[in-house]
Amino acid sequence: MAQATDITTGTTASWDGEGRVKVVGILCNWCSYAGADGAGTARLRQPFDFRIVRVPCTGRIDPLHILKAFEKGADGVLVSGCHPGDCHYAEGNYYARRKLELLERMLPQLGFEAERFKYTWVSASEAQRWQQVVTEFIKGVEKLGPREGRAL
């Protein structure tokens, strides 16, 4: 059984078995991936039920990539990129924002609980924030548990 510190309570809680929930993170190379890396380097505790896909920019992400992750069995998907205005490619995340927002609004229509998808912005220097974002997100997914008998 995996152990991790619950940063909100400060206790060491057990994550109920690796793979109880599968969460996919799609992170941009320049900000959020570096941020997550920074969190690791700083030895900030993070949940393990998390698989990261690194993309050059959130602008590269098609809403279908996220749906595909769900279709292949992800219980939650977290997308994170550079803060608006800070995109390495100047404007990629502005395009991404529109697409991701539409997806976020459409998912409940397809029978997804709102907690299963989140898009957010974490910069390379925000290791602390990253830890908080990912922990909170995964706790939300944990609460819902694995998706079973689902349409997509």
């Binding site: 098609d62 809403p63 279908l64 749906l67 595909k68 279709e71 608006p84 205005g85 404007e91 502005y94 395009y95 924002r97 529109r98 697409k99 991701l100 927002e101 539409l102 997806l103 609004r105 459409m106 409940p108 229509q109 397809l110 029978g111 997804f112 609980e113 898009y119 957010t120 912005w121 689902r150 349409a151 997509l152």
Partner: protein, 329 residues
């Protein structure tokens, strides 16, 4: 929607006149309008290549088909044809979406706008008899349906209009060269109404999930929805048929089918005015239209945007605004 004036014959005559003139003057190689199908309950796309055939064209409240589908890339035969096309209000909005992206050549297009007072939901009407419906006739506020035994039932027109016609804010074409007949009155308040999706939206997630699975279990992946869609233009290169990358599997089950439908939905996001052509094309009656309505509702709330209204506007997903009122977190 206001009761019909029943001015169909005058409009029909006008469509024929305009088509005849265009064909005779050689401005178009062929004209696409509506014609009667295998019986009088079906109105289907009609292609007229010569002026003496224009009397085949009809206009009545069964003319549901969105003819701008036939302007899509790789559809015209021959490819460089000059085409005349009749469009209703909703059809013209898909045409505007195509024009915004330069996907049809305006130079080779002659557009006849048809003011529309609402189209009959043929699918619903045909279910009032167990055996075959052979004739559907609209007279004022009444629909007369006749079956193969000659029995006739009378239905209230209001109850059997297509969903999107009941809440239609743009009955007159947004883009045309000539208008066939007088423009019909448009509602003063053009705030969109979403009543047909509100019931579904209010359901709990689990229930929506179940209903989606149930609906898409039926899908036979014939691809009629995407091929009938005027703004879904990838034709033979659709990613849902691609193996590399493989976004959608070959197996036909609810999950893959829904994934396939998502390919369609996200591709047409911001360009689909929910004309309902996909929905009507579906041979197994999956209510696809509701998904697209929901998407348009969200776009309206997100960006105060309605597809296919303004020719000069850029499609919303091909541009951005740094002040977009969301995603600040």
């Amino acid at each position: 929607m206001s009761p019909a004036n029943g001015n169909y014959e005058a409009v029909e005559q006008r469509i024929r006149e305009l088509a005849r003139a265009a064909l005779e003057e050689g401005r178009v190689d062929y004209f696409i309008g509506w014609t009667t199908g295998y019986n009088e309950s079906e109105v289907i796309p009609g292609f007229v290549r010569s002026a003496d055939k224009v009397d085949d064209l009809v206009w009545n409240p069964l003319a549901a088909y969105n003819l701008t589908t036939f302007l899509k890339r790789k559809m015209p035969d021959p490819p460089q044809a000059k085409i005349g096309v009749a469009v209703k209000g909703c059809d013209s909005r898909t045409l505007v979406s195509l024009l915004q992206e330069n996907l049809v050549d305006r130079e080779r297009l002659y557009v006849v706008g048809v003011p529309c007072e609402g189209i009959v939901n043929r699918r619903a009407v045909s279910k009032v008899f167990a055996n075959e419906v052979v004739k559907i006739e609209v007279a004022g506020d009444q629909i007369n349906v006749t079956n193969q035994d000659g029995e006739t039932k009378q239905l209230a027109r209001e109850d059997y209009l297509l969903d999107h016609c009941r809440s239609c804010n743009y009955p007159n074409p947004r883009y045309f060269d000539d208008l066939a007949g007088e423009a019909v009155p448009e509602p003063e308040d053009q705030t969109p109404m979403w009543r047909e999706i509100e019931e579904f939206e209010a359901l709990p997630e689990k229930e929506k999930d179940r209903l989606m699975a149930e609906a898409f279990e039926k899908c036979i992946r014939c691809y009629a929805c995407i091929n009938a869609c005027p703004v879904c233009y990838c034709w033979d290169n659709c990613v849902c048929r691609s193996r590399q990358p493989k976004l959608v599997g070959q197996k036909v089950n609810a999950q893959e089918n829904l994934m396939f439908q998502m390919v369609h939905m996200f591709h047409v996001a911001g360009r689909c005015p929910s004309c309902g052509n996909c929905d009507r094309a579906c041979p197994v009656e999956i209510p696809l239209y509701l998904l697209h309505r929901k998407m348009n509702k969200e776009l309206k709330e997100m960006l105060d945007f309605e597809p296919g209204i303004d020719l000069e506007q850029k499609p919303v997903f091909q541009t951005f605004d740094v002040n977009d009122p969301f995603g600040q977190h």
